[in-house]
């Protein structure tokens, strides 16, 4: 139907990517790991001591920790969104 243009790269995974594509892949990997990382941080309170009343973590500290992690994650994903804003129109397959 249409002739192949000279510049077209063959299908299938390519071994070496341009610097930009390489960055994209690593970034999308970060994005994928983010929820797992976040879940890990949110599960840290499970390690906090239980039992003796005096050893227990104060709720104010717990609030600071949880909301701190929460805010950090929001910042991180917002940053990712900002960086990937320009991806929308360019090649999708490459980063999937």
């Amino acid at each position: 139907m249409s002739e192949r243009r000279g510049g077209e790269t063959p299908r299938g995974p390519t071994l070496f990517l341009e610097r930009q594509s390489y960055r994209r892949r690593r970034l999308s990997e970060v994005a994928r790991l983010m929820p797992i990382f976040g879940a890990g941080l949110f599960m840290v309170p499970l390690l906090w001591p239980v039992g003796d009343e005096s050893e227990k973590v104060q709720t104010s500290s717990a609030i600071l920790y949880l909301f701190g992690v929460w805010g950090g994650l929001i910042l991180a994903i917002a940053l990712f969104g900002l960086v990937t804003r320009s991806w929308a129109k360019s090649d999708q397959r490459e980063i999937d």
Partner: protein, 891 residues
């Protein structure tokens, strides 16, 4: 004190405002002037229906009872949003490209358009969500009752509130949720209204929080100190519950019908997820920021025994801040109403599309073609479904008595809805997931959830006491709160663990063991590899971009120049010279037709649909493509057959051509031979006639001698010409045969006499005359010619001392066979093949004739339907003449 009447009128005004907003938004959307309605911000705010009255009021109550555990309800969705890149993005892409209308529709579509599955999911959703709707109604009633208690002038109008609220919400949902049948199932009015409600509830909760922290408590540090000093001042969260509720909230966030509705169905642009990914977690963070302070201060301020669920209202009221309390009430009201509206809409879509319509269509088989009616029926069934769901909610509220049992329904509902998760995630990421697997997983999970959580959770007698204590049928392993005899777990944790584990296990095992049907496999591939099958993220706006895409696609199919011409023509038709044409329906139709000429109708339709509709190829499209491909295949096989025939014909033509060339070559040879044969006698005739003319001193004897030579040569010429003439007549088939009955013996008698008459040498002819009496019907003169020729040949060429010719005749079937064998040395083997060719002579020195005799013989015999061949392996030269006794002329 704020009077109940004031509250009611504010509430009424608020509702009117919502109706107006929804109405205007719908109007704007209908006119296509709704770009800002489709902003990421509105999308994010619409997601906030996750925060219902249960979270608005209940979160504080939850925190007052269990400390920070309430936050898990928000952490789950936060994690889901943060993982949007590989989770929600895919879900939204699939939902949009397959035009999914609900979560039941999505699962049904993924698993081969299974109706059973859709009905199962719908029933699960209705059972799981209806109590949740009554929870919202309860919260509204409760908040009303707070004001009613505070207002001495109020009467017992509160009891009827729930009915009125439910009716109002039903009217809203029907008005704006079922206004029309949009192919994309988008409801701008509803989305806009819930976005405003989202703002109201956030502002309300923040206002109360700010009031509590800075007004009541006196700053952040003081608040923190008061928190640490309160009952919930220490971290005392059960680890199992913490993890399982986080997980449960994440699962419910994706699977809840109302969340699916706003997140996937109402999504305008996949790119909005990018914003929502951080904005919605931020919204959740803000919503939960002041929950613990409010709870802690409430516990401190409010009298013991007061309902912590209503601290958000009662704290401002107790501090004399009626305006703030009013705002807080509106926030709670907003949370409840938006959830109920969207949930009712989503459920009604599911009920109507997955249950009512299939039943109606199957009962109306003969009139199913009336498409105009179907739209009305769908809308009607949705409206009735909304009404029915509301009635169910109210009935459930009345039945349960609105007590504490209802408060726990939030998590129970989440656990039920989460049963969809394995089938959903499996369907999105695993091509091996099958319909049977999904049904099995859902059934197992649903059953365990009902038995271990929902029925016991609803309390009062739904599960008999002895079953709770001793297990079903007295089996200890089947106790609802201690399945497999594992005791001591929190009921929620217990149910989530068992139901989801066994659900996933059943889903996996049955999927692996079963075999999906073709549609299922096709859909599976489409869903799992949606990013390869669908176009990139694209908004519904941006028609120029669409035109560009169309242009690119058309170029690939039609070629650059043709495509450019076509688009320029279209642009000119639309009055836009030098620009790309707008993708109007007419233009698209023409373009599609144009493309269909190249790639087939179904493919063209799918391709244009992919660009303009933003939707991917549906299974029907694919099947149509497959059909077309089959037709093309058939056509191409026809072409193949035709081309084969053509090549056969060409081969024949080539053969004919070769034959013609050969014949032409033969003709040339023949001509040169003839001219050679003619020249020899002519030369001698000319030479001797010149001698006779020029030499005057010739004696009589010489003259006679020369004249004789001339005469002989002239005779030879005549004979040659006669033979040639004969041969040409025979070869051209213009010979007229004189067929008549006769006898072989008579013909032989005549031939021998003719051949031997005037012969120089002697030839003994040996015959068996008795056997020669064979009757035949043929051209006897021509046959005699053949015999004479053969006998003459023997006479001429037999080199034996006593030349003999043995003639035998016999019949073989319908044929007469006459052999003539002499006793000479015969014809050399290498010459045998040539004897029947023209001008073929065995030896040059005995050139009696032109070498045409045997050629003529064969020609004659073939004409008579027989043949003459050389008999090899005889004592001398032998010829066999075969001819039919009842001859027919060969054409």
């Amino acid at each position: 004190m704020a009077s109940l009447n004031l509250l009611l009128s504010v509430c009424f005004c608020y509702v009117i405002l919502l109706f107006l907003v929804a109405f205007v938004a719908d109007r704007l959307a209908a006119r296509g002037r709704s770009t800002w309605l489709r902003s990421p911000l509105i999308y994010t705010l619409s997601l906030s229906i996750y925060c219902t009255a249960w979270t608005f009021y209940g979160a504080v109550g939850y925190a007052a009872r269990s400390g920070l555990e309430f936050v898990t309800i928000y952490l789950g969705p936060t994690l889901v949003m943060i993982g949007w890149w590989w989770g929600l993005r895919k879900l939204v892409r699939i939902g949009r490209s397959h035009r999914v209308t609900s979560i039941a529709d999505l699962l049904s579509s993924r698993y081969g358009k299974s109706n059973t599955l859709a009905i199962g999911v719908t029933i699960l959703a209705v059972i799981g969500v209806t109590p949740y709707i009554s929870l919202q109604l309860q919260s509204i009633t409760l908040s009303f009752s707070i004001f009613a208690d505070a207002d001495p002038g109020s009467d017992d109008r509160v009891g009827a509130t729930v009915i009125w609220v439910a009716a109002g919400l039903a009217v809203f949902a029907i008005l704006f949720g079922t206004r029309n049948l949009d192919a994309n199932e988008r409801h701008h009015g509803v989305v806009m209204a819930i976005a405003i409600e989202a703002v109201v509830k956030l502002v309300a909760l923040l206002a109360v929080g700010v009031f509590v922290v800075w007004q009541v408590s006196g700053g952040i540090e003081a608040t923190m100190a008061r928190i640490d000093a309160s009952e919930i001042g220490r971290w005392q969260v059960d680890g199992g519950r913490w993890a399982s509720i986080t997980f449960l909230a994440a699962a419910a966030f994706v699977c809840l019908p109302r969340m699916f509705q706003v997140m996937v169905v109402e999504n305008d642009d996949e790119r909005h997820l990018r914003t929502a990914a951080w904005a919605f977690p931020l919204y959740l963070l803000l919503m939960s920021l002041f929950v613990v302070p409010i709870a802690a201060i409430g516990l401190e301020l409010m009298p013991a025994g007061s309902n912590p669920d209503l601290f958000v209202l009662t704290i401002p009221l107790s501090q004399g801040r009626e305006g703030l309390a009013m705002l807080s009430f509106l926030g709670g009201f907003s949370s409840a109403t938006s959830m109920v509206i969207v949930a009712a809409m989503a459920l009604s879509t599911m009920v109507s599309n997955q249950i009512v319509m299939p039943i109606w269509l199957s009962s109306q088989t003969q009139q199913a073609s009336q498409s105009g009616d179907v739209r009305k029926i769908v809308l009607l069934s949705r409206r009735i479904s909304i009404g029915a769901i509301m009635v169910l909610g109210v009935a459930y509220y009345e039945m349960s008595g609105g007590g504490a049992a209802l408060a726990s329904i939030g998590l129970i509902s989440f656990a039920g809805i989460a049963q969809i998760l394995p089938a959903l995630v499996g369907g999105l990421f695993w091509r091996g997931a099958t319909r049977l697997g999904a049904i099995a997983g859902l059934s197992v999970g649903f059953g365990i959830w009902m038995f271990s959580l929902l029925l016991p959770g609803l309390g009062s007698g739904l599960i008999p006491q002895h079953v709770m204590e001793q297990g079903l049928f007295g089996i200890a392993a089947l106790r609802p709160h201690a399945l497999f005899s594992i005791t001591g777990m929190d009921p929620i944790e217990h149910c989530v663990l068992w139901s989801l584990t066994l659900n996933t296990l059943a889903f996996f095992i049955v999927s692996v063991a079963s075999f999906p049907n073709p549609v299922e496999r096709l859909q599976g591939a489409q869903f799992v590899n949606v990013f390869e099958h669908s176009a990139g993220p694209r908004g519904w706006t941006g028609s120029v971009a669409q035109s560009e895409d169309l242009m690119v696609m058309t170029q690939r199919i039609l070629g650059t120049q043709d495509a450019r011409d076509l688009f320029q023509r279209e642009a000119a038709l639309q009055g836009e010279y030098g620009q790309l044409p707008e993708p109007t329906p007419e233009f698209l139709e023409r373009l599609e037709r144009q493309l269909a000429g190249s790639v087939g109708a179904a493919t063209a339709h799918a391709m244009i649909g992919q660009i303009v509709g933003g939707s991917s190829v549906s299974v029907q499209d694919l099947l149509a493509v497959a059909d077309e491909s089959a037709q093309m295949l058939e056509y191409s096989s026809q072409l193949e057959a035709q081309s084969e025939e053509l090549s056969r014909t060409a081969r024949k033509l080539r053969e004919a051509n070769e034959k013609l060339t050969q014949i032409s070559l033969q003709k040339d040879t023949f001509l040169s031979q003839v001219s050679h044969e003619l020249r020899t006698p002519m030369t001698s005739i000319r030479a001797f006639s010149e001698i006779l003319r020029d030499a005057s001193d010739l004696d009589e004897a010489d003259k006679r001698k020369y004249a004789t030579i001339i005469h002989d040569e002239a005779l030879r010429l005549t004979r040659l010409l006669n033979d040639l003439l004969d041969l040409s007549v025979l070869e051209s088939g213009q010979v007229s045969l004189n067929m008549r009955p006769g006898n072989v013996k008579d013909v032989l008698d005549h031939s021998i006499v003719s051949a031997l008459a005037g012969a120089d040498g002697s030839l003994d002819v040996i015959r068996d005359e008795a056997s020669e009496r064979i009757p035949l019907y043929s051209d006897l003169d021509r046959l005699a010619q053949v015999f004479i020729n053969l006998i003459t040949n023997a006479l001429k060429y037999c080199d034996a001392g006593q030349p003999q010719l043995r003639i035998t005749a016999r019949t073989a079937g319908d044929n007469v066979v006459v052999d003539m064998v002499d006793n000479g040395s015969g014809i050399p083997t290498e010459a045998q093949a040539m004897v029947f060719e023209k001008f073929a002579r065995v030896s040059a020195e005995k050139a009696g004739g032109a070498g045409l005799g045997l050629a003529i013989c064969r020609e004659i015999m073939q004409r008579l339907g027989g043949d003459v061949v050389y008999l090899a392996g005889q004592s001398g030269a032998g010829f066999r003449v075969t001819l039919p006794t009842k001859g027919e002329i060969k054409g």
